[in-house]
Structure formats: C-alpha cells, structure tokens
Amino acid sequence: MNARPLPLLAGIRQNPGFAIALVLFVALYLAYNMLHPRGFSSAVLIQNVNESVAIVFLAMAQTVPVLLGGLDLSVGAVMTLTNCIASELVIGTPGQIAFGMAATLACGTAFGLANGLIVVYGRLQPIIATLATGAIAMGLALFIRPKPGGRVDDDISWALTNDLYELVATYGWFDPDAGWFRSIAWIPVPLVIMLAIAFGIWLPFRRTVTGRTVYAIGSAEGAAFMSGLPIERAKVAAFTLAGFFASCGGLYLAIQTSSGNADITQAGAYTLNSIAAVVVGGTSLLGGVGGAIGSLVGALILRVISFYFRILSVDPLLQPLVEGVVLLTAVSLGVFRTLQVKNRLALFR
C-alpha cells in the first residue's frame, strides 16, 4: 500500500479556502489580543463572542443553500422575525421559557421549510423566491413588534451571555467555586452554544445521504440525478436547515438584547454579511465545496476585523472602505483554481 497523505492534509489540499480562513482568523485574533489593553482576558472574550453569535449563525444558515448553488436572501429577515417572536415568548415560568424557545426555533425552521417547498415545487430560483419570502418575514416581524421592545427573562439573559461560572451561579446547579470546575469556568456560554450547534447539528447532517446530496447537487446536479440521489428532499432540507440556523441567531439576539427589533436595515446587512462570511470561510458560491464550520470561521474573521477599528482608532467613516478592501483580498485567495482550467469553455458550464 502506498503512503497516503493524512486525511487532514488531504482535506487542506482539497479545500485550501478553509485552511487559509482558519490560519487568518487565529493570526488576526492573537494580534488583536496583543494590541488590546486588556487582551487575553475573559471579559474581552465574552464581549467578542457575544457580538459574533448572530452573524455566525446566519453564516451557517447561508452555507447550506450556497452549497446547493443557490442563495438564501431571507436569512436576515428570518433572524429578525424570530428575534421578535422570542421577545414575546421567552419569559415567565421555566416551562413557558422552554416553550418560548422551542416555538421560536420551530417558527424559523418552518419558515425555512416553506422556502424549500417553494423553491422545489414552485420551481422558482432560490434568489428571487427568498427575496420575496424575506420581505414577508419582515412584514410579519413588523406586525409582531411595530416598535422595538419586549422583554426576555432576566436570568436566562444574564446566564447565557456570560461565562460558565455565571451560568452555574445563576441557576445554582452546584457550587461554582468547586475546584474541578475552575479550569473551565471562564469559557463563555455563547461560545459553547455556537460550537455545540455547529458540531452537533452540522457534522451529523453532513454524514447523512441528504447532506451528501446537497454537496452532489452543487457539484454536478446531472450526475446526482443519474446516480439516483434524493434531489428534491435534499433541497427542501437545505432551506429548512437554513431556517433553523437563522432562528438560532434570532433567538440568541433576543436573549442578548432582552428585546425584539424589526429593523429592516439590520436584516439586510446581516443577509449580505452572511454571504461574505460564507465566501471568506472557503465555500464556493458555485456550490459543492465548503461547509458550515468554514462559514463559522469566516464570520469570526469579519467580526475580528471590525473589532480592530476600536483599538486602532480608524476614522469610523473609513470603516466600510477598509472592510471592503479586506473582504476583496480574502475572497481573491480562492480564484486560483480557475487558472488551471485547460478548456476555457468549461469555465462557463
């Protein structure tokens, strides 16, 4: 048997975009902490993670339709809608809170399911179908919450946006000063939530036939059909999963801000940034290559860049310009493959 490259190395070679993104993120974040006066502290980490959760979930949501070769322009609106729903429901007795959270996630997931059914059985292109359903989601959000407001249970709001120590202390599960707990007590709860959902939902999905079919459709839909893969089911599942991830973002935003806000500008900005994060994280807009973990890293890169503005005293008016240049540089790293194509007609197919 020939010596084979380790699976990890093979993975880096096959999708250099993800590896580049990961290295870039680690470098950027280490440098940021070195420059920050209170760098490498739990407080800075908690604040940074809290500010990243929503865009991370939206980037993961956007990844699934992009892998199909589509786009979901409704993710920001679905996040806003579920944010408003959560600001109504996540309050009261523990049972009511649990129901409220489940209902919020169910609403977002159902919205994603509707997107999928419209795209598959309405035979509409994803970009236009989700533009329309996104507007519907915004309308529903404004109906629920015409003005910013609402409230979320204080305990849950405090416990889920701080470190594990505060979580345990708030609910008194055990003595938070216990010796064994001290080494992990500093970890921010939102980081745990983010990673738990990324690895607990996405990685198993990737290992189902449905998940594999999502990749196959984005890569070569004709070959996927000829191989007898469940194409329609995979498309519906992709949009449903996008709705679920978007509602995770909306729910967390409500818990973090303890309110709901049907802000149209914010929804649009989140949608566009989710696409940027997907691309920076190494997922091809043509479909078939990449994954939600990459998008998680891509979203973190976008956030770290904006953190830099705080400590480097860049003129706020220049921030969009700098962000644009950085984004352009990051996505340019992914185009080298097209230079190797020998039949240039194949570039257009």
Partner: protein
C-alpha cells in the same frame, strides 16, 4: 448456475420524429461478453439507455427470464441488477472517491454514513481493479480522466451487477488499466454476469467478446458468434445508411498550397499528435466515431484550449489564436460554428438581429457607437444571404425552427468575413431541406476561397460534401481519404482503425479472409 436472459422485443424509440430504434429484437444472457457494434447514430446508445432505465421505450417490451420489466429510472434498473457505466461520467467531482463509490446507498451506523466502512469498501473495490494508487479520500476532481473512469467502474462493480453495460468504458484508460478491465470481465463471465460491451476498437472486441451484434440505422442487423464473420463483412454490415440528401457537385481542381497547417498537435491526452493541411477553396471533412478528438481539434484551432503542444501555421503565421476574440479578428479570421447551438452558438432570448450582429459589432460601429442604419443593413444582408425564414428580425431567436437557428449561427460568423470556417456537426437535428441548403452554401464558400474544416457524425455528409476526409481515431488522424477513395466502407474501416484490404496480424490469426472488394 442459473442462466439469466434479458430480452427486448420489438422495441422502438423516436425523438422528435427521428427514429432512434425501430422494432428491435435483442437478447443477451449471463456468462457472456456481448459486443454491440454500429456507426454513429446506429442506435447503440439508445439501446443501452433503455436497458439501464434512462429512457423508456415508446413501444415494445423488455423481459428478464421471461418476466416483463419496465424501469422508470436508473435506480430501478440497478435494483434489478442492470448497471451501466456511462460514457459521460456520473461521478460528483467535489465528493471523495469513497463517497462516490457508495454514493446513493452508503453503509450506515446509527443512521449516519459510516465513513470508515465506506472507505474500506472503496479500498476493496479499487484493489479488485488494481487501483491501489487511488486515495479513497481524494476528491474525484483531483484525479486524472483515466483514474476517474476506473472509479466509475468500481462504483458500478459495487452495485453487484448481474448485467454490466460498458459504453466505451475503456477509451479513456491507460493500457495497464485496460488489461485489468479485461481480466475483470473474464472473471465476471466466470461468475455468470452478462457484460454488454460497446467499443470502437475492433481488436478489443475480437479479443474479449464471444458474441457480436451489429446495429444500423436504428435496427438490429445481425447477431453472430465471434469468428463467424470477417472484419470486412462486419464493416459491410455496419455500412448502408440511407442517403437522404442531394449534394452539390465537387469541382475537380489541383490542390493549392496549405492555408492552415497543423503539425503534431497534442492536448491533455485528448489530442495525440494531429497533423493536417487545409487549403483555400477546399472542404476537409473530419470523420471518425464520436469522441476521438474532433471537437477538441476545432476548439484548439479557435483558441479555447490552454496548454497545447505542437504547431499550427495559418496563412504563413505560426500559432493558434489566444482566444475566440482574437480568432475572429486580425490576420486569423477564423469562425467556429459550435457543437451546441443553444448554449454556445446563440443567446436564445435575444433577438435575431442581436444574435446576427454579436460577432461583428466592430464592422457596424462608428467609434464606440453602433450605427443603426449599418446594423440594419448588415442584418438584412445576413438574412437574405442564407435565406433565413424570419417574421421580424426583432423576434427572439428562440422562436425559430432548429434549421433556421443554425442558419443564424452560420450567418453570424459569415458577417465577420472569415478565411477559415470550422463547423462542428452543423446539420445535427435539422431538417433535410435546410441541410441541402447548408451543403450548397458550404460549396459556395469554398469556391469563394475559404478553407473549411467540417466535422460531421453523418458519414453520408462527409462523402457527399468533402473534397477530402480526415478520419480521427484516439486523438490523431489515422487516414486521409481523397476523391474516389472517400467511401463509407473506407471511413468506417478507418474509424474502427482496422484495415479491410490487407489482413492485420490479428485477423490472420483468426483466419479471416481479406476482403478484396472494398474501396
């Protein structure tokens, strides 16, 4: 061992009025390797597509061991044990080799795909094909064409076929792999599998197969045991297409010096040293069976392919154009009527006028602005020259019939006043009347001094239209036929790379009588 028989009775299939199969009775049984021979368009592909569930017959029935069956899709056929290795690969480029081999029915644990079991399975199947060098974790995109073909075979093998259909499955393989596949087929024969083998390599067919069936013109002509017929007889069985068109007469004149001269042109294993000369005033046909590098040759001359080796001299200047944009301008003046007019030739939703002008805006513009009067005149000239039947030039080109659409493509290129015209199967899917108009047009253009290279899958056209026919096989020109030597038998024989006049060593070994009558 039980004998399994698959039987097709009076199966017919039509596409838009053109018959692909007509009342075909065909049978194959387990424990045999059965070759299917025929020209382009003889119905081989349609036959195997029906057997493997890609197409459904219009009329007629299929039966396995006497039980009638009907497959709605390839999955149902595979469930019945009929597995086809298609020429167009069915692999997903961005998934790994192991993923592809167990694509639709992977091994699972707790409902999730068991990647370790899947990799083991891939390793076992690849080892059976002596492809230990293929990493199951590599994506298919990283593999060379020959490795991809082997993965395709491993994928088919993993479905444990009772009937294995190989459609030109060996054409992309290296010689070592070919030997492995031969061995595998012999092994499968021992295991009572029926193999259906479509190949254009006569040596291969004679070595491997025990039964041969010849198809012609959508009909099953004859099935016979290996050795029952000589090469020349087989070629004669394959020949005999109805000539359904009138061709303009060919002028007799001495050949002029070459205008376009190609030497040892090679590209990516698809072109393996093509050498050909084309003069002004001459129509040179490109013959041979589908996929022997004809399309790549045309694309190479038009500046589409990167990484060419060899030399091309055009009008005394060396080198191919750097891009299609350069090909149509300057000293090159090359035009290509592409393979697929709906995607590469036309912008279907745009108007006829826009489509006609799209290649020659520089000729109808004053500086940066399009001169509308000139443009209108140019459109009117183009429509008149080819006799395109249009309502108004502003109509979408999609509203035209196939024949008129093809005329728009050709008229578009004539507007650039080309010196060299490359035609990629321009008469496919168009009616007989329009075909004849195109033949006359080609001859007129040649008489005006253009150099024309004409690829056609229809041999009758090559014989009727061309001054010379270059037959390609495996990425190279294997025969150039001229004048009276351009016969269907000669083209078919060259396409199969067999010589029917002098016996080949293999033919001598098989004691096949040389055919004196040919050409």
């Amino acid at each position: 061992m039980t004998v399994l028989t698959i039987e097709l009775s009076s199966v017919s299939k039509h596409f838009a009025g053109i018959r692909a199969l007509e009342a075909v009775d065909f049978a194959c049984r387990s424990g045999s390797i059965h070759a299917i021979l025929g020209e382009n368009g003889a119905g081989k592909s349609t036959l195997i597509k029906i057997m493997s569930g890609v197409l459904q017959p219009d009329t007629g029935t299929m039966a396995i061991n006497g039980e009638p069956v009907r497959f709605a899709n390839p999955t149902e056929a595979a469930a019945a044990g009929i597995v086809c290795i298609f020429q167009e690969l069915s692999l997903i480029p961005d998934l790994s080799v192991a993923d592809n081999i167990s694509l639709a029915a992977p091994p699972r644990r707790f409902g999730l795909i068991d990647r370790r079991a899947q990799r083991r399975r891939a390793e076992e199947l690849l080892a059976r094909l002596k492809c230990e060098d293929v990493d199951p974790n590599a994506t298919v995109r990283e593999l060379s064409l020959s490795r991809r073909q082997m993965v395709e075979i491993a994928k088919a093998l993993g479905k444990e076929p009772k009937v294995l259909i190989l459609d030109e499955a060996t054409s992309a393989l290296t010689s070592r792999d070919v030997e492995t596949v031969y061995g595998l087929l012999a092994e499968l024969k021992e295991q009572n599998v029926a193999s259906l083998f479509i190949s254009h390599r006569m040596q291969e067919v004679k070595r491997l197969c025990d039964t041969l069936s010849v198809f012609r013109n959508g009909r099953h002509v004859e099935t016979f045991a290996k050795g029952a017929r000589s090469d020349a007889e087989i070629v004669r069985l394959m020949v005999g297409r109805e000539v359904d068109a009138q061709f303009p007469s060919k002028p007799k004149r001495p050949r002029r010096p070459a205008h376009l001269s190609i030497r040892d042109l090679a590209w990516e294993g698809r072109l393996n040293g093509v050498s050909l000369d084309i003069s002004r005033g001459e129509i040179v046909g490109l013959g041979g069976l589908d996929g022997q590098g004809q399309k790549e040759l045309l694309l190479a001359l038009f500046g589409v392919l990167r990484g060419l080796r060899g030399s091309v001299t055009l009008g005394g200047r060396r080198g191919t154009p750097a891009s299609p944009a350069q090909a149509k301008t300057g000293a090159m003046r090359i035009a290509l009527v592409p393979e697929d007019r709906k995607t590469e030739g036309l912008m279907l939703p745009m108007s006829i006028a826009d489509n006609l002008l799209v290649g020659c805006y520089d000729r109808v513009s004053n500086g940066p602005f399009i001169d509308l009067a000139k443009a209108r005149q140019a459109v009117a000239d183009g429509i008149a020259k080819l006799g395109i039947k249009v309502g108004r030039p502003e109509d979408a080109v999609a509203t035209l019939s196939g024949g008129n659409q093809q005329k728009v493509v050709i008229a578009k290129w004539l507007m650039t006043d080309p010196e060299v015209i490359l035609l990629n199967d321009p008469t496919r899917g168009i009616d007989v009347g329009t075909k004849q108009e195109l033949y006359r047009l080609m001859r007129e253009l040649a008489d005006e001094g253009k150099a024309i290279l004409f690829y056609s899958t229809d041999y009758a056209e090559l014989i009727g239209c061309c001054d010379r026919v270059a037959v390609m096989y495996d990425g190279a020109v294997v025969a150039e036929l001229e004048g009276d030597a351009v016969t269907e038998e000669a083209i078919v024989a060259a396409s199969l790379n067999v010589d029917t006049r002098t016996p080949t060593p293999a033919a001598r070994a098989g004691a096949v009588a040389p055919a004196a009558a040919s050409a």
